[in-house]
Amino acid sequence: MNEQQQTLWQFMQGQSDKLLNQTLQHVGLTFISLLLAIAIGLPLGILIARKRKLSGTVLGIAGVLQTIPSIALLGFMIPVLGIGAKPAIVALLIYALLPIIRNTYTGIIGIDQHIKEAARAMGMSRSQILLKVELPLAMPVILAGIRTATVINVGVATLASFIAAGGLGEFIFGGISLNNTNMILAGAIPAALLAIILDALLSLIQKMDFKKLRRALYVFPVVILILGGFYALPSAYGSTLTAGFTPEFMGRQDGDLGLRSVYGLKIHTIVISDAVMYKAAYAKELDVISGYSTDGRLKAFDLKILKDDKNIFPPYYAAPIVRNEALKQFPQLEETLNLLADKITDAAMTDLNYKTDYLHQSPERVAKDFLISIGLYKAPKNGHNGTIRIGSKIFGEQYILAEMYSMLIKGYTDYDVSTKTGLGGTKICFDALTNNQIDFYPEYTGTGLLVLLQPDAKVAKEMAHDKEKTYNYVSAEFEKKFKIKWLKPIGFNNSYALMMRRKQSKDLNVNTITDLKNYLDKN
């Protein structure tokens, strides 16, 4: 524990520049969007307090907007607003809107009728009543709404990193992908502290008596503006092309680090989530992205893989990894899972992914069609001889594989199946496996080596480019360390790859990563 804290502290010190930058971005994002939400929500709240008939509609719409999952909301915005700060701010604003509108409304209609009547009786105009009576009296309630919105925003702003808007999410999600607890904590702790501190500060303002409150209210907008100003838009040094890399890719030796050290690639890079990266490349928001070589979107968005001519991306052969105990408990399991061994080629996997990601066929249907086409499909036996729990990570290919395994188990054995798909990144999935939450999931040799085992650099280098060596090494080590068995590889190699729009690659005559480096150096 002590050691853990020590290294966290060391990590934070080592990354203090980034940490400070991310924190400022986080605060900035939170407050810019808060400011805009107040600018929109306050007048709307006042409006519906005046015209109560509208209140149902307005509050209804704001309520529905708030229930849209944040990632989906961010995704919707890319076609309209692109990536980066703009869509992130708009998304945060949408989340902050409901509490502000609602509290302004309830604050104003909750004011004692007699006080408003007294104001009218003294000859105050409507606007004077609003500014001098209604708003000040509703202020504690409105501030409570702003407080709620702030806390929500601090939380949701962590997701801004998915669309290259920065913030503490870069550490949090990078850490989850990289199985780096210190990195997760370095993002999560400041984010939590931020929420707690802002909440406490706002509760102080909220509890002030009217006299102090009046003074605080002059200071409040200024403070919000200044804090909002922290968000200097994250795009400083220019290169002619822009790359979008996932947080995971950014932190890996076989990712951005390797690109810099082996190829000497210097490209303006922003951090972005896998979910929106391809779309952003297609929409010309990004020029170079880090993708997977079997990704269906490669085909869907007409992207081209740049050849890894210096071999920095190790092979990623997929194979199910299973807890030894589960193999013992379910004797037929190993044999059944191995039915799929060597059955899916790179091209086949890309095609399957294309069908789910782009043609929007269900993973279940795609899996079934494929099993039928290779003659492996059997109708389920509906057995009840124990339940096998299948896990999968949160991307399309894994869903398809999970479905295939589920069908095979149901068709060939008397076991029942429960699937736990969409288990976030590698770390979440692997932790679920070691903690006996699932029995197996499909993993990649490269991930097993570099993310889960993290051997020292020499071993890694020696292994990394040889399929056999890597497989043998991870098999032996997993057995030893985790009591987990690697079954036979499925066949395809889903390695990292750099990709560009096919047309741009042709126009610039960039076919390999070295070409890309040379192009960037010249321009």
Binding site: H114, E117, A121, V133, L137
Partner: protein
């Protein structure tokens, strides 16, 4: 001068006010009296356009109020609310300064006028910095009054201004109120459901029931010439006390024994019987020296007073 011409107001199916007409003369105090829900507040609020009448016309100082900007109209009319309605987020000083600020008075002027008023209304100076919830109910009502009076409007509307008070406090505030020089120069419409209060403060009383005027007249007229059973019954339970209040020594002068010449402090003959009795009871005096308008003076004892009053009563025409 305020004039209401055939004013009516309906809320849904409730006929709150039903063809009401009356005139309030310059510097007169008219009290709207009646049971709860009879339309007093509604009538009052139509005078400063907090409520717009369905039909009828209201004229203040010769001008139809519907032709005036309501905000401007209201700035010129003092209004004391039934529920006081002080701003909870303003200090007392700020509450009093609301209308002067709307009228863009200078700070100094507001300050000196505020000082003057809290003096007249017997509020301690330190309340000015306090907030309404820190004041007693009686103090709050005085502040409500100060707020209505601060710009010295010619017209004052008051809705149960002493409603929230216990009886003892109420009668003492009523006395102070009656003694306020400022109020004697104003045209006042006041609402109450308290008969004693109406008799104490009114020049004329407008007795209402179910949105209609039953009778309008001086306290004496209401007491001695009630127009119908309702009017009679309305006052019946407190008749004696009211009579003590409406009859003054001048009225019973002829029933008092001949005066003996005497020196000392004389009281005026417009002292009503109630006040005279209080003086006799509260002081150790046996006799009170009264001087009438014609410089004639008499001394009266308690017995002589009640005797004279009884003789006056029997001399009154009975309906």
């Amino acid at each position: 001068m305020i004039e209401l011409k055939e004013i009516s107001k309906k809320f849904g199916h409730t006929q709150a006010v039903n063809t009401i007409s009356f005139k309030v003369e310059e510097k007169e105090t008219l009290v709207l009296l009646g049971t709860s829900g009879c339309g007093k507040t509604t009538t009052l609020k139509m005078i400063n356009r907090l409520i717009e009448p369905d039909t009828g016309q209201i004229i203040i100082n010769g001008a139809d109020i519907t032709n005036q900007n309501p905000d401007e109209l209201r700035k010129g009319i003092g209004y004391v609310m039934q529920n006081i309605g002080l701003f909870p987020h303003y200090t007392i000083a700020e509450n009093i300064a609301v209308v002067p600020k709307l009228l863009r008075w200078e700070k100094e002027k507001i300050k000196s006028r505020t000082q003057e008023l809290i003096g007249k209304l017997h509020l301690p100076e330190n309340v000015l910095k306090m907030f309404p919830h820190q004041l007693s109910g009686g103090q709050q009502q005085r502040v409500g009054l100060a707020r209505a009076l601060v710009t010295n409007p010619a017209v004052l509307l008051m809705d149960e201004p002493f409603g929230a008070l216990d009886n003892v406090t109420r009668s003492s505030i009523q006395k102070e109120f009656k003694a306020l020089e400022e109020l004697k120069r104003k045209t006042i419409v006041m609402v109450t459901h308290d008969v004693q209060e109406a008799f104490e403060l009114a020049d004329r009383i407008c007795l209402m029931d179910k949105g209609k005027i039953i009778q309008i007249g001086t306290p004496k007229q209401l007491l001695y010439q009630p127009v119908n059973d309702f009017a009679k019954k309305f006052l019946a339970s407190q008749k004696l006390a009211l009579e003590f209040k409406v009859v003054n020594i001048q009225d019973i002068w002829s029933f008092l024994p001949k005066g003996t010449l005497q020196d000392g402090k004389a009281f005026p003959a417009n002292l009503n019987i109630w006040e005279a009795m209080e003086l006799l009871r509260n002081t150790d005096r046996h006799e009170l020296l009264i001087s009438a308008d014609n410089k004639e003076s008499k001394t009266v004892t308690f017995e002589q007073l009640t005797q004279g009053f009884n003789q006056f009563q029997t001399s009154q025409p009975h309906e």
